[in-house]
Symmetry: C2
Subunit: 364 residues, 2 copies
Amino acid sequence: MKAVVIREGETDPRVTTVPDPEPDAGEALVRTLRVGIDGTDHEVVEGAHGGYPEGESYQILGHEAVGVVVDANGTDVEEGQLVVPTVRRPPLGQDSNTYFERGEPDMAPDDAYVERGIVGAHGYMCEFFTSPVEFLVPVPASFATYGFLVEPLSNAEKALEHAIATRSAFEWEPEAAFVLGNGPLGLLTLAMLEQERGRYATFSRTYCLGRRDRPDPTVDLIERLESTYVDSRETPVAEMASAYEPVDFVFEATGYARHPFESIDALAPNGVAALLGIPEDWTFDVDGGRLHRELVLRNKALVGSVNSNVEQFERAKRSLGAFPEWFPDALVTGVYPPDSAADAFADDRGNEAAIKTVVEFATR
Amino acid sequence: MKAVVIREGETDPRVTTVPDPEPDAGEALVRTLRVGIDGTDHEVVEGAHGGYPEGESYQILGHEAVGVVVDANGTDVEEGQLVVPTVRRPPLGQDSNTYFERGEPDMAPDDAYVERGIVGAHGYMCEFFTSPVEFLVPVPASFATYGFLVEPLSNAEKALEHAIATRSAFEWEPEAAFVLGNGPLGLLTLAMLEQERGRYATFSRTYCLGRRDRPDPTVDLIERLESTYVDSRETPVAEMASAYEPVDFVFEATGYARHPFESIDALAPNGVAALLGIPEDWTFDVDGGRLHRELVLRNKALVGSVNSNVEQFERAKRSLGAFPEWFPDALVTGVYPPDSAADAFADDRGNEAAIKTVVEFATR
């Protein structure tokens, strides 16, 4: 079958032919519809992240997928069912472990998982893939086009859940939320926060940080979501409180290393910053005394969050299903056939007008 | 009556005579037994913290008290009842506000409270004090000697509660806890963690950081609590994981500004650091990129915590009541009459053998 892979020693994705996968006992065979590209995929391609599946010199890319079950292989999933696969799996040679048994592979330490398409396991950017059925989240037929967004959105759902938990020991009434980043994860988060109103907490006002001149498609999208665009060149995060207002919730989705520190100043008393972005090493000065004191005297919290579990996929599914119809249309700016996957990666990284790029293997 | 005060323009506590307090409607009159001294009291004395009560040129010190109700003044508290007063009150001229109505004055922002003995209100280091009865936590008669420890311990209880909350979105099974600081708050926390076993979470192993040569009374106390003493001169916090083990819970009780940053490295995956110490400004280098990434990829959290509410006083009361009898005896190393309050402050700060110092107004 056709697959988009990164080969050892190379730094560009290429389309190649690999053996068709065969489902093991407990696994179903899925025909891939669409696979999204995100920042982690670029890191995998550039060799800065992840590791090849054991004993292989290439890795099939992609971890944001939607597909159709074509062979249930004796499992209880229905053939023809649309599914979104989760990302983490037990390490090679382990059937399971504590974290997977609890349904919390997202909380597993480094040696207790591999990640499909990211580290130690093949991804979904290929015509067919197999998976144990407990890692296939069923989605409605209407999700064929945008169901691949469930995975990135599930990461935002998890971060929100953990951030809300940090504030659960008291009566927290957040009003203002500030999403750092107008990339796909930031924009999905912004849409989720709108959708979350009333479920966890009502954010009366949301803000989204970017670094773009108008006219810009992401700024348009932010404003269409009834959020306020904050240009970081005019308003650094640390000045958010004086320029707009102190915010109850910060959601860091850029990986800019200074953001967690600057967020402490952006937060209102009792606020929390959820961190999702993944920066490189970078040493710089901070007034650590002041930041430490501010955390203490104003009961503030920082919480890191990575990956997501099936429950959070289910939440993301509900959020995505409730998004306004125009939103995913506006978010997904590039759809490429697998043969043009290299162009898809190049466009996703290099084109300012690109928001979310997807590789399409089939439409249904 | 006799009171220990700090006067405007002075930096030493002095004993003076002030008018006897008169209870307002809803307030009881309390005869003071004992009032502890802590780091915040030293800061108040040194003028680095707090503010004088409106319109006054002196402040009565002390916020860790235990006393006996001598005039119920028509309230439903019994005369002769032993009580521990909480610290925060609504600002002058406010009967209450949202935070006090919720029973969460500890979560109030700066302009929504004063603190008795600390900022904007007189403390308890005097023969009698008055308080609305809802801020008087009844304690058993056996608490006459050590009941003043309920207040500092309640701060540790709050920090623990908030830290546990940050980990409530998943199944957290902490094993190792690391208390930073062998001052009274650190040692009370260590005793509390022993006591907490089974209530929230079992810490199979605890560690306590200090900077003292043996023989030392705090090291003895740590070891008598069956905890492990960690000498920060040999094992900096950031090296805890390699020198001993990565820990699930860090409890920062020193106010050393670098600790929150170093704690990120001391934590095991999914760990949390609770911050209670209050540092001065201090700018230094951190590898912010690495620390940010570590928070994210290993689901770690930092949570600041200040003050405490009646519920947390109640918990502290239960913890204190369950401490081994030798513990408060070993903790309280200096008992001074009010006329020697200046010596009490000097000894508390200057004497290496001093752990917790208390001013005693009466014994029952």
